[in-house]
Assembly symmetry: C2
Homo-oligomer: 261 residues x 2
């Protein structure tokens, strides 16, 4: 039973079509820390890596970013890499460079062929989003359009509208992360994901954050979310569960959802 | 974080307040089979047992039922026992005795002190439901009012109305089981459970059945369902997962929901 739309890199489904894809974040502050994270994380064989470059103290130095990106690429084996500078506006770290400079950093790593996906926020505005899209197209990189709300959960219809706006803006993948204030919000996120699976054509990545939201990190793929972020060494957002725990739950779910249940 | 209302037997919370309580069904056709089930199931230490007496070929013979009930009681150790004759109307086995005779069977086991809970369907009608309630009160047994739909899932508001009707009719516990036709139905069941947790005062037992419904058996307790039925030896309804699998998932959920996440 196929619940999610596959991510593809160079025409081939990531993780050979496994559901969901498990993505481990890299959140180290410097080269040594990220090197250590890579050692721990790669031993757990994630399907994807996300380098959260907003945590990296070298973000203002293109040469350091590029050198680190090359090392990550070399050590990531077959795992595709998502390159993400999460803005402080959407829950990322405060950084010293402008959004325009961030786009230059993206261009550097994309042109060097170090990453497979770039994450760009819809809230950056139409012009900047279009620039990120152009960069992605020029460098054969895929664009994940994203939206994060660390304070609350919009109504299901609004979450759906965000996902639709991302596809309409040209994103190859549409991502939404929200913070549930009550359990009902987790249901709203799942409902929006289910509806988006029917209405959209791009792969979806959705999650609720925090303790309640951890449910969606485990079960959200059944409703259509292609990727679940899980902790390899250190979490990048609240509610991420350890890769080992996620896999225990996924094994049980796969058995329970098998047709001959 | 307390997500469910506890079941209590003689004033003490079943399973010392564990969430959810894991209930293993006994569905054997005869004494030997049920004896074998007990051996297998008790090794897995469920929090509750449910004897589905509609599966028992001796149901028309009160002496056989009583003798079997005594054996189950003796071998159940500290696990409370739910006594249930599920009607064919609500997904149970076809049996040769009338509903009035079934009530006599209930009276026999309740008066002998062999069971802690009896399950009675709201659909049996007001008069019969009131008789079951009187029996429960007279014998210090608790009444689980129940409703099952093996074909579909009513809207969340209707599920809530069923649960409210059970409490209004005097049930000590309100139970609803539905069959999802699509994933959205699982969300409706969870939404109704969440709402009922706020509105009602009795403990709730809710679940969606079948492969999709298995999700609710694993995480429905977070939304307020006190009991999850899981397979000790053989399932009594579609979508039940093995006790071992359920516990793997519960361990992960408990860690993920812990306050210091």
């Amino acid at each position: 039973m196929q619940m999610t739309r596959p991510l593809k890199v160079k025409g081939k489904p990531v993780g050979a079509g496994k559901e969901p894809l498990v993505c481990a974040p890299l959140v180290g502050r410097d080269e040594a820390t990220i090197g250590g994270e890579l050692a721990t994380i790669m031993a757990k064989a994630p399907d994807l890596l996300e380098w959260r470059v907003d945590f990296f103290t070298g973000i203002a130095e293109p040469a350091r970013v590029l050198s680190m990106a090359r090392e990550i690429r070399a050590r990531a084996a077959a795992a595709p890499i998502i390159f993400t500078c999460r803005s402080a506006r959407e829950g990322g770290q405060a950084i010293a460079i402008s959004e325009e400079q961030v786009l230059d950093v993206y261009a550097t790593v994309c042109r060097a062929g170090c990453v497979d996906f770039i994450d760009w926020e819809l809230s950056s505005g139409t012009t900047r989003f279009a620039q990120a899209l152009t960069l992605a197209r020029e460098t054969d990189t895929q664009l994940i359009g994203s939206f994060h709300d660390f304070n609350a959960t919009p109504a299901a219809a609004q979450i759906l509208a965000k996902l639709e706006a991302m596809q309409a803006a040209g994103a190859d993948v549409a991502k939404v992360a929200v913070m549930p204030r009550e359990l009902k919000d987790v249901l709203a996120l799942l409902e929006a994901t289910l509806e988006a699976r029917q209405r959209l054509t791009v792969p979806l990545i959705t999650m609720a954050m925090g303790p309640f939201g951890s449910l969606s990190r485990m079960f959200g793929w059944v409703f259509g979310s292609t990727v679940s972020f899980a902790v390899g060494q250190k979490a990048s957002a609240p509610g991420q569960v350890p890769i080992e725990d996620l896999r225990l739950v996924l094994d049980v779910l796969h058995r329970a959802l098998a047709p001959r249940q």
